[in-house]
Amino acid sequence: MEKVSRLHAIRVSESVGFGRITFLFRLVRSFRTSRLASFWLVASVWLFLVQTVADADRYQSPINFVDVSAQAGIHFTHTNGASGEKYLVETMGGGGGFLDYDNDGLLDIYLVNGGPLPGFKSNQRLRNALYRNQGDGSFRDTTEEAGVSGNGYGMGTAAADYDNDGFVDLFVTNFGLNTLYHNNGNGTFSDVTARAGVQGDGGWATSAGFFDHNNDGFLDLFVCYYLDFDLDHNVRCGEHYRKGFRSYCHPDQYPGLSNKLYRNNHDGTFTDVSKTAGIANLEGKGLGVVLADLDDDGFTDIYVANDSVANFLYHNNGNGTFTDVGLISGTAYNENGEAQAGMGTDISDSNGDGRPDILVTNLDFEGATLYQNNTKGSFTDVSFPSGLAEATLRFVGFGTRFVDFDNDGDQDIFIANGHVIDNIEQVSDTIKYLQPKLLLENRKGRFVNMSKQLGPALVSPSAGRGLAIGDYDNDGDIDFLVMNCNQPPNLLQNQGGNQNHWITIKLVGLLGNRDGIGAKVHVVAGRMTQRQQVKGGMSYLSMHDPRLNFGLGKAEKVDLIEVHWPNRDVDRVRDVNSNQIVTIRESQGLAKDPREKR
């Protein structure tokens, strides 16, 4: 309804403008000969200009984001299990995201819930939730029939076809043992955690991602771990501010935990190769991870956003080992040499130079950080010069993605915000717990906050945590799923983002991993060349549409799609019409996928 009325409003104002011009022309003709005519002419011109300016002020962007969670049938509320003891884990969840678990070409949704903590009083059973996309804008809760209700205190998710059987599997991280669900291919999942060997050792796991670290064609699993925090030894914090005041502790209070890398053994099992790979490091407090090739050497690297300690950039040495080059690359700290809060992270080419840059969200008054990729393996912190820091200074950012929300061909930024401290308003007169989302438009390398112009759903405040992006309605523009702490999620439908041309590319690997993770895609449309890669991880606690969306601006067709597969094969497809979802199979080229529905 809203979309229709907005278009109607635009047409009305256009016709009014045209009507004025016609009127003015007639006026000039009829009043050529008199002084009175001159007066009326001048007055009319003035009135016309004033009205046009006024109309321009009222003019909203044609793009609008609408929260359709309720009408889509997503009746889920994240529950953090809090009891007043301020266990830090309460304030850090929840995650979830998009996956097409039934291969019908439509993105389904999985949402992770918290769990009861000591002192939590409720009879309600807390479970994760799987919602199947019905294709008509609505979703159906299929959690129980699928067998993915979860166990323990949920944090985040990662989804990928780890056994290359054609069906996406699901990994859930917990505060406690993790869970791996194998997709049975018939709408159900089986818990194969114990057999797979990826349960972890009961610590606090956060974000995770699948990627092929050794290019053997099978997806491995990277899991971030956060703090060595245990409920029986909860530190009491906040009294330094005011006697009797209690709040969540700073992560400085607890030691970090080492992240884990599980190598896929090709038989449904994994081996923990963290130590031999060189990624076991107790100095980290991992919250976000993104897995992508940062130096274009054909091997996927790992970037971990750590909380209040140096971030890690693990360069893949190509031999199963990694080297942390965070410090020397300039991506461990901000430009001032300070460790920041480091929650969510993503990688993309933000300035069109062909090299992927790194985005990290942080606490209020730190600002989000954008590390621009130079040559020679170094990065420059351009957070302030790009306008990103200024736009994000007052917010606590969690989930984040680069996204071309308006399909104009450049990478914008979306951030889900929400403070960590639920009683922050008792200690600050400026900062709020619930915070608006931020959608920052990329204007030639400078990021500008557009949230207010893109619909009230974006400025509606919440305790934002996870953020997943995907085109759930297959209409060519990217929608957002924001997961909030102790609140319902927001499914934000992008209405109008497909007014520019676009193309969505799904990759199917045959020699490499089936999801095509690690593949790089170059798209050329007219004068525009764009590069993206199929990445693992991304954002915070979230999983995303595995397809790559390219905004084409005014270009009506794509001249070239070039896919560089992880095994270094290259496929090229030429002269593809825009505004469609295409599937490219490794070594086979463009395939018509009958399951893609619109």
Binding site: T91, C237, R242, C249, D252, G337, A339, F384, V427, T430
Partner: protein, 393 residues
């Protein structure tokens, strides 16, 4: 005349003489009695007159009066006490000590003498003696707020902060409106980063008296540290209303707006601060940093250089100048500025980081590694200090 008559007459004369003698003893002759009365009256006048003159700040005249009081037969502990106070104010330490000691000899129960002696010893860093003197004063006079306060000051000078806090709190228990105790506590809590407590005491100071502009500035600083930015702004504004030439308040306003990302307002206030006081290093440095954030390196560099010229000990300015040079690709200048910062402050963590980055650009791998190692060392220490404060997120 017989012998008996002579004997009687002798007796009468003896008795008369005895009577007269007794009378002389107990009754002063008229002229002497009057003189004595006048003498007594003068003694009282000299002491009180001296006290009035002392209170009026006329120390020289007061000294004369006290000296006169002491030329009288009766020794006055009070007179010695005040002479001691005069000598103290004239920085005649030994004389003051003698006077106070004498006052104590004459009146060992006069608490004020011990208090002042305590202050005297404290100024000479004779802390054991000063503490003893203060404690004696406190034993003699219950709820002697001044002695508690002075003891608190002494403890503070000795960095025995917890004891100092106890004394100042006790002063407030006795006299809740003791402005100076509030002021001391606000400073101590501010140094301990207990900003809420510091703000509480500063608010009391403001409530109790027409506080100077600087009190508003200090309170604004506490609120800034508590992230109560609107309150901080209101107090900085109040400070500028009391004193429009207070560059520090204007500069703080600029810094607060900069923190909030309101760069235009920040720039306005920094410019105002510099127009009032072109030598205000805080304003020039922070305006320079604002330009650095906006990537206007030329302007940033000029302001930071000016800051360093104004105050060559400004470590932060040297450090940020190094940052600017590094961003601008002027590596040699960056190294020089950063090394200067480290020389002035060998544990300036961020300088080691930037120096490491600079040497890396210069492909001086060993020097880069050394500086990064030092940076990590200091960074761990900073984190450990933060941990001890049990901060909220």
């Amino acid at each position: 005349m017989g012998k008996s008559t002579v004997r009687t007459a002798q007796r009468v004369i003896q008795i008369a003489g005895l009577t007269l003698f007794c009378l002389c003893l107990y009754c002063e002759p008229p002229s002497q009695a009057k003189a004595g009365a006048v003498l007594h009256e003068h003694r009282v006048d000299h002491l009180h007159r001296g006290i009035s003159l002392f209170k009026a700040g006329q120390l020289a005249l007061a000294e004369i009066e006290f000296a006169k009081a002491l030329t009288e037969k009766r020794q006055s502990a009070q007179a010695y006490y005040f002479l001691g106070m005069i000598a103290f104010q004239q920085s005649k330490v030994e004389q003051a000590e003698r006077m106070f000691s004498r006052a104590i000899e004459l009146n060992p129960l006069y608490a004020e003498s011990y208090n002042s002696l305590g202050v005297l010893y404290d100024r000479q860093d004779k802390f054991t003696q000063s503490e003893r003197a203060f404690q004696t004063a406190l034993r003699l006079k219950a709820n002697y707020a001044k002695a508690h306060f002075n003891l608190g000051l002494s403890y503070r000078r000795q960095s025995r902060i917890e004891l100092a806090v106890q004394e100042f709190l006790y002063v407030l228990h006795i006299e809740p409106h003791h402005n100076l105790a509030h002021s001391e506590l606000s400073e101590i809590y501010g140094e301990q980063k207990k900003y809420a407590l510091a703000a509480q005491h500063l608010e009391e100071e403001l409530r109790l008296s027409t506080a100077p502009a600087m009190t508003h500035v200090r309170l604004g600083e506490m609120y800034f540290n508590l992230s109560h930015f609107h309150k901080a702004i209101s107090h900085f504004v109040a400070a500028t209303e009391k004193d429009p030439t207070l560059a520090l308040a204007l500069s703080h306003l600029g810094y607060t707006y900069k923190t909030l990302g309101e760069y235009e307002k920040a720039q306005t206030y920094f410019d105002k601060a510099l127009s009032v006081d072109s030598a205000n290093t805080e304003a020039s440095m922070n305006l320079g940093l604002l330009y650095l954030d906006k990537n206007e390196l030329g302007k940033a560099s000029r302001l930071l250089k000016a800051t360093v010229l104004l105050d060559s000990n400004q470590v932060e300015a040297l450090y940020h100048l190094g940052r600017i040079y590094l961003r601008d690709g002027k590596l040699a200048e960056a190294v020089s500025a950063l090394q200067a910062a480290i020389q002035k402050c060998p544990n300036h963590t961020q300088s080691y980081y930037q120096l490491g980055m600079a040497y890396q650009e210069l492909i001086e791998t060993r020097l880069a590694a050394e500086n990064f190692q030092l940076f990590k060392q200091f960074e761990r220490k900073d984190r450990s200090e933060r941990k001890n404060r049990k901060l909220q997120y």
